[in-house]
């Protein structure tokens, strides 16, 4: 093991983060920015208020893809081990999100009574144009604090990359996709039964 390894390639995770930059090129207009900001705050309010059915109806597009991955920790100079390094904690379509919502709201969901309380902080919002004039790429950070029973407070934090499509409905946009690579490898918050 005396051989000195010289780094010739970026680690996979760095490369992934850099590839994403290609989506963040052309900032959208001020007007669009403010409309998106309002949309994200409304979404956070609906979710904090546990209005999950309204969230699905007014915010989420029926062709949604909602993804949260967790990435295995590998050496920066890893070259040969090529099994997948990501696990999909969420990869849900509209029907699957609806199952989660109905699970949570079911009168026999024992863990939802008494209710958990959420507080979301959405920051670092950036809005970019895409090839489609109706659609925008939105990058934002989300900190979600959950209080549960009398003795548990959990923190979830992440960067979200969304695609929003303009919509005639009450929210102005709909969420076409959300992609999160969750930063904390071993999730300390007991479970991820939350929408980030």
């Amino acid at each position: 093991m005396s051989e000195k390894t010289v780094k010739t390639k970026e680690p996979l995770v760095t490369k992934r983060a850099q590839d994403l930059q290609a989506l963040f090129v052309q900032p959208a207009s001020e007007e669009t920015y403010h409309a998106v900001e309002k949309f994200l705050y409304k979404e956070a309010r609906l979710l904090d208020s546990k209005m999950f059915r309204t969230w699905l109806q007014d915010v989420v597009s029926e062709d949604v893809r909602y993804i949260v991955t967790s990435t295995e920790l590998r050496a920066n100079n890893e070259r040969r081990y090529d099994l997948p390094d990501q696990v999909y904690l969420f990869d849900d379509d509209y029907r699957q999100l609806s199952i989660r919502v109905e699970h949570d709201l079911d009168p026999q969901n024992w863990r939802s009574s008494p209710q958990e309380v959420y507080c979301r902080f959405v920051t670092n919002i950036e809005v970019f144009e895409t090839d489609d004039p109706q659609e925008f790429t939105v990058r934002s950070n989300c900190l979600l604090i959950r209080s549960r029973r009398s003795y548990q407070t959990d923190q979830f934090f992440c960067t979200r990359v969304d695609v929003l499509r303009q919509d005639a409905g009450p929210s102005g946009f709909k969420l076409k996709s959300r992609t999160i690579d969750y930063p904390e490898r071993c999730v300390s918050g007991h479970n991820m039964l939350v929408y980030l």
Binding site: M1, V68, S70, E72, L73, L89, F90, D106, N109, N191
Partner: protein
């Protein structure tokens, strides 16, 4: 207060076992220091130099594929000053170099080089005496790799005992299974035994705990929602074995917890293979292949076959457990079905699994309540089906009266009690000589 932690004769356990740090310390020695512990699957380290870092009790270990195809495991601890050797979860490496002073080890654990060895140690450092601390025994069954710190432990096949017969159709005769990684990982505020005992033999909770998941998800188990029906007599089996491993069988329930179109596709896949297997291995075992098995390999490795859930409940402290969740899938499943299946496994029983969260809530509350000064002295009850346990000439193990019972809880804690009350494997084995009688004679 009853004096024993485990009362085998009456199927009871003292609640303290779920929260006491003193019990936990003993467990690290007498349970995790002695038993075969799940490490990884061959499919995750296929090539020479491939490794994963995982846990055995509170220890981190490197599990590494050798040049000759064999597998070794070492404490992930540098021999010099004890720094963590490998901070990665998986990879391929010819060896491991410590970040502190640069001692370098081969993938076989040998200390190969020490910076400025000749100038600084005056020839007094014997590299041969500073190999990584190796795990005493490694073996595998059907590709699942286990390690054991105790040289005196029985062989892995003996240790698994009667549960092997039930696992073989799905894990081997089916054409084999693989594990899909990386695992989901999360930390729950529960004692490691609470999920282990639930998976080993709790068919009772499904209709009630998972009421909302059953109703919203629409799996083949959905009619149980809200305890509206009891699975009919003969719906399955429950069995336990000498070394505490045990399982439940729900006949023909191949699609498991999955829902929608995926459940239909899985059912069709399982049925077609069962038809083929009937000719190869006979109808009885082909049926076991397509039946849903919930179980725990003692002490902390649980699974749901067919549903595809594979878990290690890794103890961090008496009140904290790290959950590792892999997908277990038949190798010959078509790749698009495998992909949909993998995502559905994590959707139901992963870190964000809506079934899993129902369970974890119970496990955390059992643990939380066990801290109560009065509560911890009280005995817990696992007496369902007690006095109905039997030997069956057609079925290995001690077999419970019905699929819904606590036979495998009793078998799990019978062995746990033997381990905790013994100073060596010889003593453990002697105590377990009449293990079947102990369970069959148990009564309230």
């Amino acid at each position: 207060m009853e004096d024993k932690l485990i009362n085998i004769a009456q199927g009871k356990q003292r609640h303290e076992m779920h929260a006491s740090e003193a019990v936990f310390e003993q467990e690290m020695d007498k349970v995790f220091g002695r038993c075969w512990l799940f490490l990884t699957h061959e499919s995750l380290i296929p090539n020479f130099g491939d490794y994963v870092v995982t846990r055995m009790g509170t220890d981190e270990v490197i599990v590494s594929r050798q040049r000759d195809g064999s597998i070794k495991a070492f404490l992930n601890t540098c021999r010099h000053r004890g720094a963590q050797l490998c901070p990665n979860e998986a990879g391929n490496a010819r060896g491991f170099v410590c970040a502190y002073h640069g001692w370098a080890y081969g993938s076989n654990g040998d200390l190969q080089s020490v910076p400025f060895d000749e100038q600084l140690y005056d020839g007094l450092l014997d590299k041969c005496k500073n190999s990584l601390h190796e795990v005493a025994k490694i073996d595998s069954f059907y590709g699942f790799i286990y390690g054991c710190f105790d040289q005196d432990a029985p062989s892995l096949p003996d240790y698994l005992g009667d549960v092997k017969w039930y696992l073989e159709p799905y894990m081997d005769l089916s054409g084999g299974v693989e594990l899909i990684g990386p695992p989901g990982r999360c930390l729950i505020a529960a004692n490691w035994k609470t999920p282990s005992e639930n998976f080993v033999g709790d068919a009772y909770h499904v209709g009630w705990t998972h009421s909302s998941a059953l109703r919203s998800g629409g799996s083949i188990f959905s009619p149980l929602a809200g305890n509206s029906v009891l699975p009919p007599e003969g719906a399955g089996l429950q069995i336990t074995s000498k070394h505490g491993s045990g399982l439940g069988v729900l006949w023909d329930a191949y699609a498991g917890v999955h829902d929608g179109e995926l459940a239909n596709e899985l059912m069709a896949f399982g049925l077609a293979k069962e038809q083929r297997l009937i000719k190869e291995i006979g109808a009885e075992r082909a049926r076991i292949y397509r039946s849903h098995l919930n179980g725990t390999i003692f002490p902390n490795n649980s699974f749901l076959t067919c549903s595809g859930i594979f878990k290690a409940w890794q103890p961090r402290s008496a009140n904290s457990t790290e959950v590792f969740s892999w997908v277990m899938v038949e190798k010959d499943m078509p790749s698009d079905l495998k992909e949909a299946f993998t995502k559905s496994v994590h959707r139901t029983f992963g870190v964000a699994g809506y079934w899993e969260s129902d369970d974890n809530d119970n496990m955390e509350s059992e643990t939380y309540m066990a801290k109560g000064h009065q509560a911890k002295k009280k005995m817990l009850n696992s007496q369902m089906g007690i006095s109905g346990d039997r030997i069956d000439s057609d079925l290995p193990g001690v077999v419970g009266k019905s699929a819904i019972g606590e036979t495998s809880y009793r078998g799990y804690y019978r062995f746990y009690g033997d381990l905790m009350g013994s100073d060596s494997w010889a003593e453990v084995s002697a105590k377990g000589d009449n293990w079947q009688d102990q369970l069959i004679k148990a009564t309230v």
